[in-house]
């Protein structure tokens, strides 16, 4: 793999850019791998990358039904933050956020991490108390956040309306090193780094079955033939239930549609990310100038990658009060992704009832921000066969034991 650098750009400029090579080859499946990861989204690719980088396991295939990064990795609102209440959540999301800080340099691929700051508005008395508590929990966890006043909110976001009749802004939880990154580039950067380690990225290859012997996984059947493996990692977000069905166990997961939309591009007007959990909306401005708006999930099971129109209407209507200037913006595009929701709204990184088969799912509506940390923890679990400190409490049996990591209560909404 040729390194990207300023010198490479200069060299290629002199020869009409004829010398760039493919970032990763289109691999054909081999008969056997040490480890197979199902799902070439951010989490799957990050898992493969850290398997190679941290644990030296490089005979790895990443199998993808569609195209690389075409699922939720390409369908989110790219927000990165780690201001969670519960300790296990703060640990893994902060690990992810801190890895994002140097990810471009590490992967030699510009993921455009922009730590512009993330603000979560407190619009009810309940939220003020909740966010103050979170800020204190964060300071114990070593995550830098603070509760800021409405005046400071206005200073950071001049376009905001503090005095909305229904949803006044009473303060905010502010994480100055949160931000955004280019979502596709995260997948592409990991894919390129995986390919450089000799891993196979196999696209347009759907898994149709999981074979097992004596309670241990032996391989998978796919639309492009059978492939044997010693270890299997299932990292397929919304289709986790379908894959678990192939492998013969159940997961405490339901799949629903989550939507987002972008406006027409406008001049720079907001250089932080603003989340308003009471009204279920969040907004940031992309580098292209579009206002990127995320909304809520539908209440029913859905695999269609599109959501109900009235959710968009509700989100935009509520954000209109807080940001009056968006009322005359045209919305350009809307899309949906299928998110995997657990009972406590926290992920599952776990061994499964099937030996040598591991699952990483349940990231629900907030998986993008966790990609590096999730991959790090999943790689450790797959390499050692036992969870490390980051994954330990995210096992799939916590529901039976009542050991929830209850972020749905902590955040008040899905997050």
């Amino acid at each position: 793999m040729k390194r990207y650098s300023v010198f490479a750009v200069a060299r290629e400029a002199l020869r009409q850019h004829q010398g760039w090579e493919r970032a990763w080859p289109n691999a054909e499946p081999k008969a056997r791998y040490d480890a197979i990861i199902v799902g070439a989204g951010g989490h799957g690719l990050a898992t493969a990358y850290y398997l190679g980088r941290n644990h030296g396991i490089r005979n790895v295939a990443i199998i993808e039904k569609g195209w690389l990064g075409g699922g939720n990795t390409g369908r989110n609102t790219t927000i990165i933050r780690s201001n969670y209440l519960q300790d296990p959540s703060a640990a893994i999301y902060e690990k992810a956020r801190s890895l994002f800080e140097t990810l471009s340099q590490e992967l030699n691929y510009n993921v455009m991490f922009s730590p512009r700051g993330v603000m979560m508005l407190a619009q009810t008395q309940h939220e003020i108390r909740g966010y103050k508590r979170t800020a204190m929990a964060n300071s114990l966890q070593g995550v830098t956040t603070e509760f800021i006043s409405p005046a400071r909110v206005k200073e950071l976001v001049p376009i905001i309306n503090l005095e909305g009749p229904r949803y006044p802004v009473l303060g905010a939880l502010w994480q100055p090193r949160g931000g955004t990154a280019r979502h596709d580039a995260v997948a592409w950067g990991y894919a390129r780094a995986c390919a450089a380690m000799g891993m196979d990225i196999i696209q347009k290859c759907e898994v149709t079955g999981v074979s097992q012997k004596d309670g241990k996984v032996t391989g998978i059947s796919t639309t492009r033939g059978d492939i044997a493996c010693d270890k299997l990692g299932i990292v397929v977000a919304g289709h986790s239930g379908v894959m678990a069905n192939h492998a013969g166990f159940r997961l405490p997961i339901e799949s629903v549609a989550l939507q987002a939309l972008v406006s027409e591009p406008i001049k720079p007007c907001m250089d932080v990310v603003v989340m308003a959990n009471t009204v279920h909306g969040y907004m940031s401005q992309s580098d292209k100038g579009e206002m990127v708006i995320g909304g809520g999930t539908d209440g029913f099971n859905n695999y269609t990658q599109r959501g109900s129109f009235h959710h968009i209407e509700e989100t935009v209507r509520a954000l209109n009060e807080t940001f009056p200037m968006i009322s005359r913006l045209k919305m350009l595009r809307q899309w949906g992704g299928i998110v995997d929701m657990t009972g406590d709204r926290s992920p599952i990184i776990s061994k499964t009832p099937l030996g040598n088969c591991f699952v990483n799912c349940g990231w629900g509506t907030g998986g993008f921000k966790a990609i590096p940390g999730s991959g790090w923890a999943m790689a450790e679990l797959m390499a050692k066969g036992e969870p490390g400190p980051l994954a330990l409490e995210f096992n799939m049996w916590r529901f039976k034991e009542g050991k929830f990591i209850d972020e749905s209560v902590a955040a008040g909404v899905a997050h």
């Binding site: 289709h239 379908v242 209440g299 099971n301 269609t304 109900s308 039976k400």
Partner: protein
């Protein structure tokens, strides 16, 4: 937009009139049940890509709970039926079989 016909008042209600209530035909477990049964009842849900049975409430209408058979992959509705049903009535099952031969769901208890 999803439209379900309420089996009680007969109104073809669109999504904003309705509240989704999750999986239908759950067997309930309470105090004294085993950990496995309680976990299954509280957290493990069918999550099929295809035929699914759900509880819905006609919240902004007659207010009654009812059950619906739906395809989660195409959003097609096969029919609705009263909440007291232990299993989907035959016409609903036939309607599903006509369009999805060989469909399966968990056992109806």
């Amino acid at each position: 937009m999803l439209t379900l016909t309420c089996p009680y008042c007969g109104v073809a209600a669109e999504e904003t009139e309705l509240t989704a209530g999750g999986e239908a035909h759950l067997k309930r477990f309470g105090p004294g049940s085993s950990d496995d049964d309680l976990e299954t009842y509280l957290f493990l849900r069918e999550n099929p890509k295809g035929v699914h049975f759900e509880r819905w409430r006609h919240s902004f209408g007659c207010g009654k709970w009812f059950l619906a058979a739906r395809d989660t992959n195409t959003l097609e509705v096969f029919g609705t039926y009263p909440a007291q049903s232990k299993a989907p009535p035959k016409p609903i099952k036939d309607a599903i079989t006509a369009k999805r031969p060989g469909w399966s769901w968990r056992e109806f208890k």
